[in-house]
């Protein structure tokens, strides 16, 4: 039996060599960290002696980290923030992306439409650091454009980076600004693929444009809308760290509305030093995220086998 193993190994030697770099990478950056999640059940201490030593020799505390975590207000806040923002992003992102796609597809002047599309793409290519600077040019208390405009209306300058009230709207707006230009492309491609004769038939039957959109375009887009939405729902427990860290400029007073699971974990590592609770939060996110991805992928697979992740 062992002989056939070595023979098979030999025959596949070259191909094995090809997967080697990637496999080693996955081992280091994906699978070893999985082992590292044990740290959530320990009082982790960074030892000079390296990874394995630290992992093995840190004190076992069982579920304590989780108990501490879920006793804090933070646990509720970050979960709520992560979920609510993602729900808003998914829903509003969908409405605006599809709307934009339909709008672009109906414009008469195609050259102009191309120009619009190119402009709308720009935000996607910018990093959240840059977007953070953009936001600052509007929201800066003493120099920002927004306070300046408010001044014209006799409204006092607002301390945007200290007052949490408007941040949900600001963050949603910024997210949409950055993403819908690009995500509308998916729907636009689908719309352009719709058979023109369907519309012609509808027109002959006297249907208005609005009726055509409602009865032809939208139903035909339904599959891809469902798929995109489900895939997004699978990731609903993960937030875009860049958005929530850079745009609010890490302002502490805003944490109640800007702290999401990902930023909480990061701050636990780098700032507050609460490694135990943060690792527990990370594991909590990974497990729930895993369940959600599996469920959403299962549902997607039932709808359209080819579109599932696996």
């Amino acid at each position: 039996m062992a002989g056939s193993f070595f023979r098979r190994f030999n025959r596949n030697k070259v191909l094995l060599l090809m997967v080697l770099p990637g496999a080693v990478w996955f081992l280091c950056f994906s699978y070893l960290p999985l082992v590292g999640t044990i740290a959530a059940f320990k009082e982790y201490r960074f030892s000079r002696h390296g990874f394995w030593y630290s992992l093995v020799h840190s004190k076992n505390v069982g579920w304590d980290n989780f108990k501490f975590l879920f006793n804090t207000d933070a646990a509720f806040t970050i979960t709520r923030n992560t979920l609510l923002y993602n729900i808003a992003f998914i829903f509003l992102g969908l409405v605006f992306s599809v709307g934009l796609a339909i709008l672009l597809s109906e414009l008469v002047n195609k050259k102009l439409a191309k120009l619009y599309q190119t402009s709308m793409f720009l935000p996607y290519f910018l990093s959240w650091v840059i977007v953070g600077y953009f936001a600052f040019s509007f929201l800066s208390m003493d120099r920002g454009l927004l306070n300046h405009i408010l001044g014209y209306f006799g409204v006092d300058s607002m301390q945007w980076y200290s007052d949490p009230t408007y941040w949900p709207y600001i963050l949603i707006f910024v997210y949409l600004w950055k993403s819908i230009g690009y995500s509308s492309v998916v729907y636009l491609a689908s719309i352009l693929g719709i058979d023109r004769s369907l519309y012609e038939a509808a027109m002959i039957d006297g249907a208005s444009k609005l009726q055509q959109v409602r009865n032809i375009t939208l139903p035909l887009l339904k599959p891809i809308i469902i798929i995109m939405t489900l895939l997004a729902v699978g990731k609903i427990f993960y937030a875009d760290f860049g958005l929530f860290y850079n745009v609010p400029r890490d302002s502490g007073t805003l944490y109640s509305v800007t702290n999401v699971i990902d930023t909480y974990v990061y701050r636990g590592l780098k700032t507050t030093g609460e490694i135990g609770m943060s690792t527990a939060a990370g594991l909590y996110q990974s497990v729930v995220g895993f369940v959600l991805v599996m469920v959403s992928n299962y549902v997607v697979r039932r709808i359209d086998k080819d579109s599932a992740l696996f």
């Binding site: 596949n12 070259v14 191909l15 094995l16 090809m18 997967v19 770099p21 990637g22 496999a23 996955f26 280091c28 950056f29 994906s30 960290p33 999640t37 960074f46 390296g50 990874f51 934009l100 709008l103 672009l104 414009l107 008469v108 002047n109 102009l112 619009y116 402009s119 709308m120 793409f121 720009l122 290519f125 910018l126 990093s127 650091v129 840059i130 600077y133 953009f134 040019s137 003493d142 120099r143 920002g144 454009l145 306070n147 230009g181 492309v185 998916v186 491609a189 023109r196 519309y199 012609e200 027109m203 860049g242 850079n246 990902d262 974990v265 590592l269 990370g282 895993f290 991805v293 599996m294």
Partner: protein, 305 residues
Amino acid sequence: MSRALTKKRDFHQITRGWNVLFNIFAAIFSFLCVFPFVFVLIISFTDEKSLATNGYRVIPEKWSFEAYEYIFQTGDTLLRSYGVTILVTVVGTLVSLLMIALYAYAVSRKSFAYRRFFSLFAVFTMLFNGGMIPTYIVVTQLLHLKDNVWALILPLAMNAFYIMILRTFYITGIPDAIIESGKIDGAGEFKIFIRLVLPLSLPGLATIGLFSTLGYWNDWFNALLYIDDPNKVPLQSMLMRIESSMQFIQQNSANSAVSLEALASMPQDTARMAMVVLATLPIIFAYPFFQRYFVQGLTVGSVKE
């Protein structure tokens, strides 16, 4: 024939009225997408003192090249960050493409006995993530990459999603006949890969390569986690460090004039915005030409066949 009759309108089109309305919406949104960059550009050409009195204005009271002159004199920090970013992006993209292409090719070959295992090995990583902290622990304590440029390159190198896309591309796009003909000619797997498969897969590689390039260029997160050494700070990360104060530039500039100069007399705000402009310009110039690939990538990714 009167003009009215000869002016034919495609009966698919929406009415004039709606077209104007749609154009207005589209134009407003397009403007909103582009305006912030233009605004920051304008701020960078504003006189620092008029910023103090008037704040950021779309039409400054007084224009000035001060910020750019300052950067020109003290530019070593900016240049170094650019250098790091370019190095990381070029090496990163090449390393990444190589690793992904090889892995995807091997996994696409029906003759590969361990094909299923390695496919699952890759796909599973898309489902369950170890998380930020365990990854940090592995990178710093096991791989000892703290303050190492490779900490900027390696974490972004592999992506299971790209592997699956490329694998599908190989399976559907590269007929077995081609590979068989290579084998008949006595070529080994590597030769077949380099001579026959690689040239055929250039479009797919270009798309993945561009996504990879964008990812590396814009990355600030890995630097945030792993880099403290000011000489290894990439562009975006440098911009983060000067957000509140130009101290980072001052402390790390080799130019003695900069270190001696009082913080107050530097054109702080405008220089900061000028740095943002200079860091963003390459993207602004390049992206319209590569739009097509990103569009392709998105539509392929979402309609995996």
